[in-house]
């Protein structure tokens, strides 16, 4: 087949180094035939030709950062399993559902063999004897493509017993969820995989690497993290670390959505690409729609504190974004132009996290709901001044102490660095607060205007629709 570029939804081509999206330009990128014609399963062969511990060392020295949100180096994580406790498992996190995040689904739909090869390399290197590939329930096509690829790979001897005729044997079991955002959290993912309600476990003692699936050492890795491994093993550590920076090597996929001219999923160079490059660069989003001014952006998925144009020159580098008051999270940038109704935008996110609370911790279950109700009241023009204070007070019960936010020259604010303290088991509770806190801190006047308007002007209900979630709840 000719190398014609096919527009994958969300994917925009460009002439940059491509580690995980190199096959997206082919219409048949998901087939075994195409995969084998484009270096497919070469990384596996290279890995199996060396002792497992050497492969683990390679992944460590390449500093492959986790792409699921926390940015923890994969090689280090694999080394946290207790010695001589067997069996160990691999659970692949394909539950992608953080607001704004769109990359793992593309990787599963458009290059499933690359993911499978990544899983195999991880299992070999870290001594993991069974792999569970957990795909979000609402992704029918991804399930289809991965199931097909697994069936092909089993038949061709790449997965299962005595892989490529070697002593390396591992099953990859396709598993799929049924709709619950919190299940993306690694301990909830494990609960769900055990057939239970997907509620996070307390860490400690349940750090999956030590005590995970069925109480056994378990590595949980994100889809994109694992998708990096075939290229790494094919091209070597030096080639991998030659891209990006020392602390953030390689590339990462970033989905830019909202008010830009060319929203899309871009594979960018880690560590050096800035938010300005991404939002305004001609090879990326090409600027804000209609030439409008940028008002704010969420730099790392719905959970992340917001940035304004003041932060545009920050690179995709955790060690700089953290002190600036936010996080890179799951590679999701949501852009708001000058026309955006900020309180209503914040409400869509707070609603999301309140709705997705599993109910295990009181501050999240009750606090999230409170935040949503109060904010909705304000958005609807029925709020009072006291409500704005109340939002901050409820937030402080979820996250005591100073909450991270960005610096702002106009407002005379200096940054409060990431992370925050929290009274909850997982990050869903704090995430309900993050958009409220950012919006109120950076755009307080818009809230105050809403509150004052309430007596005289009936404000159109902008975001009321999201309240009605009865059907999907």
């Amino acid at each position: 087949m000719s190398k014609t570029y096919v527009h994958a939804p969300g994917f925009v081509a460009g002439d940059r180094p491509k580690i995980v999206t190199s096959r997206f330009e082919f219409a048949d990128s998901f087939t075994l035939e195409r995969y084998l014609a484009t270096d497919g399963y070469k990384g596996l062969r290279a890995a199996l030709s060396r002792p497992a511990n050497e492969i683990h060392e390679d992944v460590k020295s390449a500093t492959v950062l986790g792409r699921g949100g926390a940015g923890f180096p994969a090689g280090t994580k694999w080394g946290l399993t207790p010695q001589q406790v067997w069996p160990r498992y691999l659970v692949v996190n394909g539950d992608e559902s953080e607001p704004g995040t769109y990359k793992d689904r593309l990787l599963m739909e458009r290059d499933p063999h690359q993911l499978i090869e990544g899983c195999l390399i991880a299992c070999y290197a870290a001594g993991l004897s069974q792999c569970f590939l957990y795909i979000r329930g609402e992704m029918a096509l991804a399930q289809e493509r991965v199931a097909t690829a697994l069936n092909e790979a089993y038949a061709a001897g790449y997965v299962g017993k005595n892989i490529l005729g070697s002593k390396f044997s591992v099953d990859i079991i396709l598993h799929w969820g049924a709709g619950a955002y919190v299940v993306g959290e690694e301990t909830a993912l494990i609960e769900s995989l055990e057939g239970n309600r997907g509620m996070p476990r307390l860490k400690p003692p349940f750090f999956p690497a030590a005590n995970g699936l069925y109480g056994q050492p378990t590595i949980v890795n994100n889809v994109e993290t694992l998708a990096n491994l075939p290229w790494l093993l094919t091209h070597g550590v030096a080639a991998y670390t030659a891209i990006g920076t020392k602390t953030s090597p390689g590339t990462r996929m970033v989905a830019v959505s909202g008010h830009v001219k060319r929203p899309g999923v871009y594979e960018i160079i880690n560590g050096t690409t800035t938010f300005r490059d991404l939002l305004y660069g001609e090879e990326f989003c090409g600027g804000i729609r209609n030439g409008n001014a940028l008002k704010a952006f969420v730099p790392g998925g719905g959970s992340a504190p917001w940035f304004t144009p003041d932060q545009l020159d920050l690179p995709f580098e955790a060690s700089q974004v953290g002190p600036a008051g936010s996080m890179l999270g799951s590679g999701a940038v949501m852009v708001m132009d000058e026309t955006t109704d900020i309180p209503a935008a914040a409400l869509t996110l707070t609603h999301f996290y309140a709705h997705e609370s599993c109910g295990k911790c009181t501050p999240c279950r009750e606090g999230g709901t409170w935040l949503e109700r109060i904010l909705r009241r304000v958005v609807n023009g029925e709020g009072t001044d006291a409500d704005l204070q109340q939002l901050l007070e409820v937030g402080a019960m979820i996250c005591p102490g100073a909450f991270p936010h960005a610096a702002n020259e106009k407002l005379g604010l200096s940054a409060v660095p990431f992370p925050y303290k929290m009274t909850t088991i997982c990050f869903v509770g704090p995430s309900a607060y993050a958009p409220v806190h950012s919006a109120l801190t950076l755009f307080r006047s818009e809230f105050e205007a809403r509150v004052k308007k309430r007596v005289t002007i009936p404000v159109t209900v902008v975001a009321n629709e999201t309240a009605n979630v009865g059907a999907s709840a």
């Binding site: 497992a52 069936n151 239970n196 989905a255 059907a471």
Partner: protein
């Protein structure tokens, strides 16, 4: 008739055997049951409990946590319109209004003929293509009100049967592992040694 039929019992047994513990198969089996019946019934939960060795209350405990499992009939086509931030910024609310008008029902409702259920949904991992919707968990992207009208008309006329199987069917392809290629699952307590390839030598 909402216990799994014979063909599905066979499939269920295959699925259960892939896991070190049978209960792990519960969510896939609930999907299988929903595929067979369109929703999850009491009798189905009883049966699944028998298959994986837990009570039907435990099955319900798990099932009721997850949004995709429905405990009463829904339309043949479940239309989920995303309302999370990226889609909200790009007109999701107008789209929902339009859908409600076109179908003559409110979000959460089902048309009297049982063909469509309309629902609010949260981020569908397609944010760059906002506003988005799913019909039975298959996408339509950058949806305009006109697109939506056409989609609904075509679904109603049966013109999209190939693209959108009825509610309950997810992946049209199942994983199948040939016995000769499978390693096979073992309960964790039955595994006490390091995997064979961790012998300090190359596997190939």
């Amino acid at each position: 008739m909402s216990r799994l039929n014979d063909a599905n019992i066979k499939l269920a047994r295959e699925i259960i055997a892939r896991y070190p513990r049978p209960k792990s198969a519960l969510i896939p089996l609930l999907h299988l049951s929903q595929e067979q019946n369109g929703y999850i019934t009491r009798e189905a939960m009883q049966h699944l409990g028998e298959l994986v060795g837990v009570t039907s209350a435990e099955v319900y405990g798990t099932a009721s946590f997850y949004e995709m499992f429905k405990f009463e009939p829904v339309g043949k086509y479940l239309i989920n319109i995303c309302g999370t931030m990226s889609c909200a910024l790009m007109g999701a609310h107008e789209l929902m209004h339009h859908a409600e008008k076109k179908l003559g029902i409110k979000a959460g409702g089902t048309t009297p003929d049982g063909v469509f259920t309309l629902a609010h949904a949260e981020c569908q991992a397609a944010c760059t293509e906002a506003p988005t919707l799913q019909v039975n968990y298959r996408y339509r992207l950058r949806v305009t009100p006109d697109d939506l009208d056409r989609l609904i008309d075509n679904l109603r006329d049966g013109k999209l049967n190939d693209e959108f199987p009825p509610h309950g069917v997810l992946s049209k392809v199942r994983q199948s592992i040939d016995a000769s290629r499978a390693v096979g699952a073992k309960a964790p307590e039955d595994v006490n040694e390091a995997p064979a390839w961790l012998d300090g030598k190359a596997a190939l």
